[in-house]
Amino acid sequence: MGQVVALDALLHARQVWHGRAAPVPDSHQPTGWAALDAALPAGGWPEHAMTEILLPADGVGELQLVLPTLARLTRESRSVMVIAPPYVPCVAGWEARGVVMSQVDIVQAGERDVLWAAEQCLRSGSCAAVLAWPTQADDRALRRLQVAADTGKALAFVFRDRRHAMQASPAALRLELESEPGLQVRIRKCRGGNPPAGTVPLVAGWS
């Protein structure tokens, strides 16, 4: 012990194996935000997986983040489920951002049924994306959603309050929205790479 060995020599002698990260498949689900796509290892939403979006407050721009994706999916005549939204989706506002509202099912569910409904929708395999606003969700419940998203090959978006950021989460991607000074996204966790430092600014439009 105490002997200093050059790492190069060890590697050369094949005594230490140099691991390499598994390649991340390119995503076919761009977020619609070029800056965010560039920051994510897969270049888009993790496919067939859950994305957790943490919010400081309602109405900071959480829908801005996903509406381009919803617009793309609904224009392809694929179904989107919105489960237990905190407010009523405003049709004029969603349509102005390109969403085809006839493809969007709004599901009103009680506190205890949100996770059940989300799991059913994800598992069914007939929805392209599922948005859910659970109020009580623990690690196990979220893991079920993650597995269901994988089974049903759907995008799952779960919106939660920022205070849950400290809890561990099974989500493939965790984003935290910040509204100060402008709308920006901090990547808390992402599958297939270290989360990039710093934040990704989003241009928040209101029209």
Binding site: A57, C90, G125
Partner: protein, 469 residues
């Protein structure tokens, strides 16, 4: 012509057994007047203990101390018989009912369902699923199939010559002859069908009445068999009754699966679907509890029917114990199967969207799924509706939020910065919902973008109406 006969040797017993979860306890059906009760049928554990059909109940009780007794109900048995006829109607247009048996003409069905061995296994799988023990035989005439099914299970005879050979060794006691003829023939020394068929018909005609000769003609196919073809009724009704009271909804799940399974079998036979049906839970006293089960479109898949009914039933609080359950389906609209695209990219195990919606509606309530659309009304409260209809054409692009509050609420925070506005909305004088508001896009101190309004000309007393989330 080829006829398949499905003989149901234990129809009454199976009808009782299938409504209970599988168990090993001995069970007998009893019938007869109160003073002379006899065993009508006994299940396998009871038979193993020495109980048999026709035994006096007192004797049975002496042999076995503990067994379940169920009163035999001939009406019930007839109901199961009709259900199986409805099931058989799926495989053939000509279905007839014999005592304890269903016969169906299959020569044309074979083209569709494959050669006989495959068709036979289809029939057996179905009957197994429905929970009825059975014996199946195939012959050129219905009576011959009926006789052969009684003699040996799985016998298949295709030609008239082979039929004569197959019938010859059958003893007269198993030949299902008219009863008085069986007596007379055995005293004449005729023991088998072969001997009977060898006798000259003219002599038989003189000795017995014409009935026996006509019966023989129908048996070997010399004469056509007049038969009343079964026609399925236009509504479905089935009832299950228990000897004990059921207090928990969970205990109703097993019989419910049977009922919905029977409904699905019936619908498949009729090539129909069902859109709404009713479950009636009968109590010891008082009016029955009715549970209406409705679906968005007509369906007939057993799993779908069961899922829907179970969802409705599980939300029910039972006030009283249940003694019987009845399933009634009166409207049976035609069933249109959903088409699937050849190049569908969805996973193969996918649940169709409609079925998913049914499942959600069943648990969360009828109005839990909404589709929103725009209306022509400019007032934000009435600018969208979940009522069905077509959206009007898009008009001017004014800033609209993505979240809308159900009811506008006063803004309590510090005064927001105005980003755009005002947009005056003034309308509704004709229907009492008159409003005059100036809407602004504002930014709150927390960085949220909001849609707020205040009274015309003012910029204070902000009312929050939406978020540009």
């Amino acid at each position: 012509m080829l006829w398949a006969c499905v003989l149901l040797p234990r129809l009454a017993l199976d009808g009782v057994l299938r409504r209970r979860p599988p168990s090993d306890e001995p069970l007998v059906l009893v019938s007869g007047p109160a003073q002379a009760r006899v065993v009508h049928a006994a299940n396998a554990p009871a038979r193993a203990a020495g109980l048999y059909r026709g035994q006096r109940l007192v004797a049975a009780q002496a042999l076995l101390s503990q067994f379940v007794m169920v009163e035999h109900d001939p009406g019930d048995e007839a109901g199961w018989h009709r259900l199986l006829a409805a099931w058989a109607y799926r495989y053939s247009a000509e279905v007839g009912l014999f005592a304890h048996a269903v016969v169906l003409e299959v020569s044309r069905s074979l083209n569709l369902f494959g050669p006989w061995p495959r068709f036979e296994s289809l029939l057996r799988d179905d009957l197994q699923g429905l929970g009825f023990r059975h014996r199946i035989a195939l012959a050129p005439t219905p009576h011959a199939a009926y006789v052969l099914a009684g003699v040996r299970d799985g016998m298949a005879v295709m030609t008239p010559d082979a039929l004569r050979r197959a019938l010859s060794p059958v003893p007269l006691a198993q030949a299902r002859l008219p009863p008085e003829a069986t007596q007379a023939l055995s005293s004449m020394g005729v023991r088998t069908l072969g001997q009977l068929l060898a006798l000259p018909r003219a002599g038989l005609q003189r000795r017995f009445d014409g009935e026996l000769v006509a019966w023989l003609g129908r048996l070997v196919g010399d004469e056509p068999t007049p038969m009343e073809s079964y026609r399925p009724p236009d509504s479905f009704e089935q009832r299950m009754e228990w000897t004990h009271e059921i207090e928990h909804v969970e205990a109703l799940v097993f019989p419910l699966r049977r009922l919905t399974g029977d409904l699905a079998a019936y619908l498949a036979g009729r090539d129909g679907g069902v859109q709404r049906f009713e479950l009636e839970l009968e109590h010891r006293s008082g009016a029955p509890t009715r549970v209406a089960v409705g679906m968005l479109t007509a369906g007939r898949d057993a799993t779908l029917l069961f899922d829907c009914a179970r969802g409705r039933l599980e939300r029910l609080a039972l006030g009283q114990p249940v003694v019987a359950m009845r399933l009634v389906a009166r409207e049976l609209p035609p069933f249109v199967p959903a088409g699937r695209d050849l190049f569908d990219t969805r996973p193969t195990h996918a649940v169709p969207l409609e079925q998913l919606r049914e499942r959600l509606r069943a648990r969360l309530g009828e109005a839990s799924i909404q589709h929103l659309r725009r209306t022509v009304d400019p007032r934000p409260e009435r600018s969208q509706t979940s009522a069905p209809g077509a959206s009007p054409a898009r008009t001017a692009l004014l800033p609209r939020p993505t979240w809308l509050l159900d009811v506008p609420r006063p803004w309590r925070g510090p005064s927001p910065d105005i980003l755009a506005g005002p947009e005056r909305i003034e309308s509704g004088w004709w229907d009492g919902g008159d409003l005059r508001r100036d809407y602004y896009v504002v930014r709150t101190a927390q960085g949220q973008r909001a849609w707020m309004y205040c009274a015309p000309g003012e910029q204070g007393n902000w009312m929050l109406h939406g978020w540009f989330a």
